[in-house]
Symmetry: C2
Subunit: 217 residues, 2 copies
């Protein structure tokens, strides 16, 4: 397997955690999102992934090679192909709740604060740097506020009970991003405690942006 | 079952199509997204769904009632509980590709052009109406361009081969929205043909915004 990603992309970061949790052998192929106007826009990359977004997974064990985009689809694919440890609880009810939590980050927070959205705000709408920062802070705070409220009902050691699920795989990279952008996280004690607990696990440590070969520190 | 939604919400529209495809009995509970400052912000609604977003599904057949948010989690829940007709193809490979297509809309287009994002652009950033419209046009065009390119490889009568999948359930409401906002759709012949074909099916017709009880025409 090959994962085309970028050390700071939180969508790629989610997938890296799953690969390490499941101990799947996978070669990282860096796609630098800023250098040369963004390598995700190159002809070679868009032939693989026409959305110009990372990550892309290539599974060469599949006949004709599977080329797959969208981190949440990649996570489900990996979870179906390598079921242990599972990214979801077993019951239909619990599974749906965990998926909803994961999507609260993957749909509502991440895409709205993504690099290309920030670039459009500045380059096309002429938004000032300060307002661009407030934009990211706003959507992250809105997202975390709802997330924290749900955690009060369903969390244990991790987002949903006492096992790591796909919800933790989405939360941790988003909080990493939030800290990088200096979002005030003081109103989210459950989120902070869960992220701290996750970040003590080997799979989460190995997946950290600064531990990737393409990290620029 | 009860579905809290809004006639024009494309996330609710996706779920309505699935309910009709699978012939699931479900009561519609309207949440007016604009009236009274937005009924999705009411105390009664946010107690059910702290994200202040529609839709929310309540499944009263589950012990203690299942309260579920996030349309993509709701769709998978319904598909697991009522497997026929299936929203995904069977093979792992094809399933992942269909999921990625659906998420190309559900993650990359819809949240970025959502009502609350438009409200923030105008009310907080002071963006002019014309720029707000260009914003929506831009993200829809970017999303449809990638989608059309993928369809060239995988589409048949519908987005993926000759059966309706979750990708069609995401595409049709997004195109409905695009037409409402007068996005130029001339560069997307495959998308247009598939949407036209879907819109001849009873489930898609019943789910149309203008066919809902809370529609204001």
């Amino acid at each position: 397997m090959k994962l085309f990603g970028y050390w700071r992309s939180s969508a790629a970061y989610r997938v890296r955690i799953a690969l390490h949790l499941k101990d799947i052998d996978c070669q990282a192929v860096p796609v630098h999102l800023v250098r040369n106007g963004g390598e995700q826009h190159s002809e070679a990359y868009t032939a693989l992934n026409p959305t110009h977004l990372v990550p892309t997974l290539i599974d060469e064990t599949v006949d004709g090679n599977l080329v797959l985009s969208q981190s949440m689809a990649i996570l489900d694919y990996l979870d179906n192909k390598y079921p242990q440890p599972a990214l979801y609880p077993e019951s239909l009810y619990a599974k749906a709740q965990v998926q909803a939590l994961a999507l609260d980050i993957a749909c509502e927070v991440h895409p709205v604060t993504n690099l290309r959205v920030q670039q459009y705000l500045v380059n096309t709408l002429g938004v000032e740097d300060e307002d661009k920062l407030s934009w990211s802070h706003h959507w992250m705070s809105v997202g975390f506020t709802a997330f924290e409220e749900t955690l009060q009902k369903v969390s244990g050691k991790y987002c949903y009970g006492d096992h790591v699920t796909i919800a933790d795989l989405c939360l941790v990279p988003q909080v990493y991003n939030a800290n990088r952008f200096k979002v005030d996280m003081s109103a989210f004690p459950l989120i902070n405690a869960i992220v701290e607990r996750c970040n003590q696990l080997p799979a989460f440590i190995k997946a950290l942006p600064e531990n990737q070969d393409d990290a620029i520190l």
